[in-house]
C-alpha cells in the first residue's frame, strides 16, 4: 500500500504527464514509420505513379485491343500469314484468345459491320479454334456446325431402285436426268445440340434468328412424327427469348422439325439419355438467310 503511494507521488505532485511523454522511443519510431510509409505510398501511387512507356499490346484498353484484333484479322486476310498473325495475337497475352475474338466477331455482327470485316474476323476466330454461330456463318468453311440430318425420308417419296431406271437402256443410252430444282430455304440450320439441362420434360427447343443473329418471333415451326404432326410459333415465351419456342417430346418417338417459311428439315430427333442418365431433348437454332444469294453482297 505504501509502495504504491510512493510511486504515485510524482504524478500527484507534478500533475499528470502529457501523453507524448508517455510514448516510448520505439513508439515514436513506429509512428514516424507509419506516417512516412503512408506518405510514400500516396506519393508513389497517386501523386506521381510510375507511367510505363514501351508497353505491349496487352496493356491497351479494351477498345484498342478490339481494334488491334480487327487489324490483325485484316492483315491476315491480306497476306494469309498465320504465324505472323499468331505472333501478333500472342502479344495480347490473352489466355482465352479464341473466346475474345469470337466475342468481338459477335459484337461486329450485332453492330451490322460490313460482310468483309465479319469474314476476316470469322476466319481469324476459326483459325483460333473458336466455335459459335457467327463463326459457322461467316468463316470460309462452316466449322463447328453439326451435321444436320436433312430431308428425312419420312417426308420424301421413296426413291425408286436404280435397276428400274436402267431397265430400258436402248431408249436411254445417252439420256441424262433433267436438272433437279435446287430448293432455296429461307432459314438455314445454325446448330443442333442435345439438351441436358432440362428443368422439365424432354423437349425440342427451336430458336429462330435473323441475319444479324437477333431473335425472330412469330416463326411457325412444323413438327412431324409417324402418325401425327403439330405446329407451334416462336416468341410465345419471351422470358426465354423472342425467337424461342418449344415442343414437348414423348419417349420412343422420332420427330422431324422444319420451319414453315422454308428450312432444312431436321429429322431423327428422339429422347436420348444424357451422361447423367436423365432424358435429354434437342435445341435447334435456325438463322434467316439474306435475300441476295451468297455472303459477299456487301463487299
Amino acid at each position: 500500500m505504501s509502495r504504491r503511494r510512493r510511486r504515485q507521488l510524482p504524478y500527484s505532485s507534478g500533475g499528470k504527464r502529457p501523453f507524448w511523454q508517455r510514448i516510448s522511443t520505439a513508439g515514436w519510431l513506429l509512428l514516424g514509420l507509419v506516417v512516412g510509409l503512408s506518405a510514400g505510398l500516396y506519393y508513389s501511387w497517386v501523386v506521381d505513379p510510375v507511367v510505363y512507356i514501351n508497353a505491349g499490346p496487352s496493356r491497351l484498353s479494351e477498345a484498342h485491343k478490339a481494334e488491334y484484333i480487327f487489324l490483325v484479322s485484316q492483315s491476315y486476310a491480306a497476306d494469309g500469314d498465320w504465324p505472323q498473325a499468331q505472333q501478333r495475337l500472342a502479344a495480347l497475352e490473352d489466355p482465352n484468345l479464341a473466346g475474345t475474338v469470337n466475342a468481338l466477331l459477335e459484337s461486329y455482327v450485332r453492330n451490322l459491320a460490313p460482310p468483309a470485316a465479319l469474314r476476316h474476323l470469322a476466319a481469324l476466330a476459326q483459325q483460333l479454334g473458336a466455335e459459335g454461330g457467327a463463326v459457322a456463318v461467316f468463316a470460309p468453311t462452316a466449322a463447328a456446325l453439326p451435321t444436320p440430318t436433312l430431308a428425312s425420308p419420312l417426308f420424301l417419296p421413296t426413291p425408286e431402285p436404280l435397276s428400274t431406271l436402267t431397265a430400258v437402256p436402248a431408249l436411254t443410252s445417252t439420256a441424262t436426268l433433267p436438272p433437279q430444282p435446287t430448293e432455296v430455304f429461307t432459314f438455314q440450320l445454325l446448330s443442333q445440340e442435345q439438351l441436358c439441362d432440362l428443368d422439365g420434360a424432354p423437349r425440342i427447343e427451336v430458336i429462330t434468328q435473323d441475319v444479324a443473329l437477333n431473335d425472330v418471333p412469330g416463326t411457325a415451326v412444323l413438327v412431324r412424327w409417324a402418325g401425327g404432326q403439330d405446329r407451334f410459333f416462336t416468341g410465345f415465351k419471351p422470358d426465354r427469348g423472342l425467337g424461342y419456342g418449344d415442343f414437348t417430346m414423348s419417349p420412343d418417338v422420332s420427330y422431324a422439325v422444319a420451319l414453315a417459311e422454308g428450312s432444312p428439315e431436321v429429322s431423327g430427333l428422339r429422347v436420348e439419355k444424357c451422361a447423367d442418365g436423365r432424358d435429354g431433348g434437342w435445341r435447334l437454332v435456325f438463322q434467316k438467310l439474306s435475300n441476295t444469294p451468297g455472303r459477299d453482297n456487301g463487299d
Partner: protein, 127 residues
C-alpha cells in the same frame, strides 16, 4: 536528453517509412498500367501497328479510319508510318506490304521519291 531524442527518432521513422513507401509504390507494387493507347506501345509494337493500319486500309479503303488509327499512335503517328515504310523499302521487304504502306502514306499526304515505284495500285476496297 529525451526531449532532443524524440524528434530525431520521429525524423528517422518518417524517412524510413517514406523510403519504404516509395520503394513499394514505384518498384515492388507499381500502379497497374492498363487502358493504354497505341501511343504508349514500344517502338517495335508501334511500327507493327502502323503495318496493321496499312493492311487494314488496303483491305477496306477506309482512309478516315486509317487516319484515326494513326492518330492513336500519338503526335508522331505519321512519322512512325514514314519510318516503317522507308525501312521496308530500303530493306526490300515483302513487296505487297511495301505497297500497302506506300498507298497509306500517299493517302495521308506523305511524299517521298522512294514511294514512286510502288504507287500504282489503289487499295482493294477504295471507292
Amino acid at each position: 536528453m529525451r526531449q532532443l531524442r524524440i524528434p530525431l527518432v520521429i525524423v528517422i521513422g518518417l524517412a524510413l517509412g517514406l523510403g519504404l513507401g516509395l520503394l513499394i509504390g514505384w518498384r515492388l507494387y507499381p500502379t497497374e498500367f492498363v487502358n493504354a493507347t497505341p501511343a504508349y506501345l514500344a517502338p517495335a509494337y508501334q511500327q507493327d501497328y502502323a503495318r496493321l493500319v496499312a493492311a487494314g486500309y488496303a483491305m477496306d479503303g477506309d482512309l478516315a479510319a486509317a487516319q484515326t488509327r494513326l492518330r492513336g499512335l500519338g503526335e508522331n503517328g505519321e512519322a512512325v508510318l514514314t519510318a516503317v515504310m522507308i525501312d521496308a523499302i530500303l530493306k526490300q521487304q515483302d513487296e505487297p506490304e511495301i505497297r500497302q504502306l506506300v498507298n497509306l502514306a500517299a493517302a495521308v499526304g506523305i511524299n517521298s521519291p522512294v514511294m514512286t515505284p510502288y504507287l500504282n495500285q489503289p487499295p482493294e476496297g477504295a471507292p
